[in-house]
C-alpha cells in the first residue's frame, strides 16, 4: 500500500476517525489503534512477513527490560546488549546479505581455481527490514548506555517499531525522540494537521509529477544502454538525480506529514541537499536519519578508537562509515563502491580542514548565491550525479560501461527521443525548474510550502495549493513503487 493510492486514503481515513473520534483523549487506546493499523499496513502486501517483525519486537522488548534490570552487573548487561545488537545485525545479514556473501565467497573460490558448488538460498527479504532493524538496534544501545529507560509497555514499544508512516522507508526515528511522544496525550491539533497536509501535498507533487514521470523514461534507457548516445546517457544520469531525490524526499515528506496529522514530530530526512557546496555538507543534508544513526553508532566509536592517528584516523573512520552507508542500501558491490567513492571524497576536505568550517550559505538581496557558491553547488551536484550511476547500476560492469559510453564522441550530438518522450521530458524539466526554485526560496523552512504562511491573503495561499494539486492530478505519472522501499 503506497501513500499515493486510493487504498491508503481509505485506510488512513478509517484510522484517523478511530484515532481521534472514537478513542480521543485515551492515549493507550490510540496507541493500540496505531499498532493494529501499522501491522495491517505492513502485512497488507504479504502477511507472512508479520511474524518476523513481531518476534524481533518481542525479543528486543524483553532484552531491553533485562538489560536495565541487570545494570548493576555490567558484564551481564553488556552481554545482553551484545546479544540484542547481534540479533538485529543477524536479521539484516540473513535476509539481506546472506546470498551476497555466499555468492562472493563462491566467486573468490572460483577465481582461486577451486571448484565450489555452494548454491544460494531462496530468501524473501521483508520490506522495511533495514529501517526497523536500525530502530531495534538503536533501542538496545540507548537502553544499555542509560540514555533511555526501557519501555515497560509492549504496545508502546511495538508501535515505535512498526509505526506505519515510517516502517517501509523511514525516516528512522530514534527511541529517545519517538517513545516519549507515544506516551504523551495526543488530541487533534489544527495547525499541526494543516502543516502535515501541506507537507503531504509537497511530497505527493514531487513523487507523482517528477519522480514517477521520470521513472518510465529513465528505466527505458537503463534497459538498453548500448544503443544510447552519450549525450542521452548524460541527460538521463542528471535526471536520475532528480528522480531519486524527489522519490525519496517525496516519500519522507508524506511520511512526516501523515505523522503530523496523527500528532507526531518525525525526524526529518532531507535538508535541501542539492544546494550543498561540498560532499560533507551534502551528507549532512541527505537521508539525515540514516547518516546520523551511522554517525552516532559507527563513526563516533570508530573515530574515537582511531583518534591517535590524527587526520588519517578520521579518514579511516569516514571510509568505513561510508562503505556501510553504501552497503546498507543492498547486497551488491555497486553499493560498496558507491559508499567507498563518497568516503574517499572526504579526504581532500579533511586534509585542507574545509570540513571543520561550516560557513552559512549567504545570498544577495535578490536571494541568489555568490558565483563561488553557485559553482560549488553545481560541482557537488555533478559529483553526486556521477556516483548515482554506480548506485543505479545492476552491477559494476554495467556502471563501468555507462561511464565509458558517456565519455564518447556522441556526447556532442543532441540526445534523440521519441516525440512523446521529448514532450514529457520538456514538461518534467520545467517542473524540476519550478520545484528547485520553490525549494531554493523555501530552504530556511522544514517544507518549502511553509513559507506561504508569510502571505497575508489566505486566498492566494489556497490558489497555490490548488495549482499544485491540479498539476499533481493532471501530470501524475504511472504509479511507481518508492525506490527506497526495496532497501
Amino acid at each position: 500500500m503506497i501513500f499515493n493510492s486510493l487504498s491508503f486514503l481509505i485506510f488512513f481515513v478509517i484510522v484517523f476517525f478511530l484515532y481521534y473520534f472514537l478513542f480521543k483523549e485515551n492515549t493507550k487506546y490510540q496507541n493500540w489503534i496505531l499498532l493494529l493499523s501499522s501491522y495491517f499496513f505492513y502485512g497488507y502486501v504479504n502477511w507472512k512477513i508479520i511474524p518476523i517483525l513481531l518476534i524481533a519486537t518481542v525479543i528486543i522488548f524483553t532484552l531491553g527490560i533485562a538489560i536495565h534490570s541487570t545494570e548493576e552487573n555490567e558484564k551481564k548487561s553488556s552481554w545482553l546488549a551484545t546479544l540484542g545488537i547481534l540479533l538485529g545485525i543477524g536479521l539484516l545479514v540473513y535476509f539481506k546479505y546472506f546470498n551476497f556473501f555466499i555468492d562472493s565467497f563462491s566467486s573468490v573460490l572460483n577465481t582461486l581455481g577451486l571448484k565450489s558448488n555452494i548454491g544460494t538460498f531462496n530468501i524473501i527479504m521483508p520490506i522495511g527490514i533495514s529501517f526497523f532493524t536500525f530502530k531495534l538496534i538503536s533501542y538496545i544501545i540507548e537502553v544499555h548506555s542509560g540514555q533511555i529507560e526501557p519501555s515497560k509497555d509492549f504496545g508502546v514499544f511495538a508501535t515505535y517499531v512498526a509505526f506505519f508512516p515510517t516502517i517501509m522507508s523511514g525516516p528512522i526515528d530514534r527511541p529517545n525522540n519517538f517513545i516519549p511522544q507515544l506516551l504523551s496525550k495526543r488530541s487533534f491539533k489544527y495547525d499541526l494537521t494543516v502543516n502535515g497536509c501541506r507537507q503531504i501535498l509537497w511530497g505527493l507533487f514531487q513523487k507523482a509529477v517528477i519522480a514517477d514521470n521520470l521513472a518510465t523514461i529513465i528505466n527505458g534507457v537503463w534497459d538498453d544502454i548500448p544503443n544510447q548516445s552519450a549525450s542521452k546517457l548524460l541527460l538521463i544520469a542528471i535526471l536520475y538525480s532528480f528522480q531519486l531525490y524527489t522519490d525519496f524526499s517525496g516519500y519522507s515528506h508524506m511520511a512526516i506529514g501523515v505523522g503530523k496529522i496523527l500528532g507526531f514530530h518525525i525526524t526529518k530526512n532531507f535538508n535541501y541537499p542539492y544546494f550543498s557546496r561540498n560532499i560533507a555538507e551534502f551528507w549532512r543534508n541527505w537521508h539525515i536519519s540514516l547518516t546520523s544513526w551511522l554517525t552516532d553508532y559507527i563513526f563516533m566509536p570508530l573515530s574515537f578508537k582511531f583518534r591517535s592517528f590524527g587526520n588519517w584516523g578520521l579518514i579511516l573512520a569516514i571510509i568505513i562509515n561510508f562503505i556501510l552507508v553504501g552497503l546498507w542500501h543492498g547486497a551488491n558491490w555497486t553499493f560498496v563502491i558507491y559508499g567507498l567513492f563518497h568516503g574517499l571524497l572526504f579526504i581532500p576536505l579533511i586534509l585542507t580542514e574545509t570540513i571543520f568550517k561550516k560557513n552559512k550559505l549567504n545570498v544577495n538581496k535578490y536571494g541568489l548565491p555568490s558565483i563561488n557558491d553557485f559553482f560549488k553547488i553545481i560541482g557537488t551536484f555533478s559529483i553526486w550525479t556521477l556516483s548515482l550511476i554506480i548506485f543505479r547500476a545492476d552491477n559494476i560492469l554495467q556502471a563501468w560501461n555507462y561511464f565509458l559510453d558517456i565519455f564518447s564522441p556522441s556526447l556532442l550530438n543532441a540526445p534523440k527521443f521519441t516525440s512523446h518522450d521529448l514532450a514529457l521530458i520538456f514538461i518534467i524539466i520545467i517542473f524540476i525548474f519550478i520545484f528547485m526554485l520553490i525549494e531554493w526560496y523555501g530552504k530556511e523552512t522544514e517544507c518549502p510550502l511553509f513559507q506561504l504562511d508569510k502571505m497575508k491573503n489566505k486566498y492566494s495561499r489556497w490558489v497555490i495549493y490548488f495549482i499544485i494539486l491540479l498539476s499533481t492530478i493532471i501530470f501524475t505519472g504511472g504509479k511507481q513503487v518508492f525506490i527506497y522501499v526495496q532497501f
Binding site: M300, S303, F304, R307, K357, K358
Partner: protein
C-alpha cells in the same frame, strides 16, 4: 587543578577548535548552541582535551557528556 582553572582551559580549547576568540562556554551549553559543533569537531575537542590535560577518555565517558558541564565535571573527577 581546581574547577575554575579547568573551566578556563576548556574554554581556551573551545575557542581554538571553533576558531572563535569570543566564545564563552557555560555549564549547560550543548552542541546545539555552538555553530560547527558536530561529530567531527566533537572528536577534535576530545583529542584537544585529552592532550591538554594528559588524560584518556573511555568511550563510555563520551556517552555521559551531554553538555559542557558534564565534560568539566568528568575532568574534575579525573584530574581535580
Amino acid at each position: 587543578m581546581n574547577k575554575t582553572k579547568i573551566t578556563q582551559e576548556v574554554e581556551a580549547i573551545f575557542r581554538k577548535v571553533f576558531d572563535d576568540d569570543k566564545l564563552v562556554i557555560n555549564m549547560t551549553m550543548t552542541a546545539n548552541d555552538v555553530d560547527n559543533w558536530d561529530s567531527l569537531t566533537h572528536m577534535l575537542l576530545i583529542v584537544e582535551v585529552e592532550n591538554t590535560f594528559n588524560i584518556k577518555f573511555k568511550l563510555r565517558d563520551l556517552n555521559k557528556m551531554k553538555n559542557v558541564g558534564d565534560m568539566i565535571d568528568l575532568l574534575v573527577l579525573k584530574i581535580g
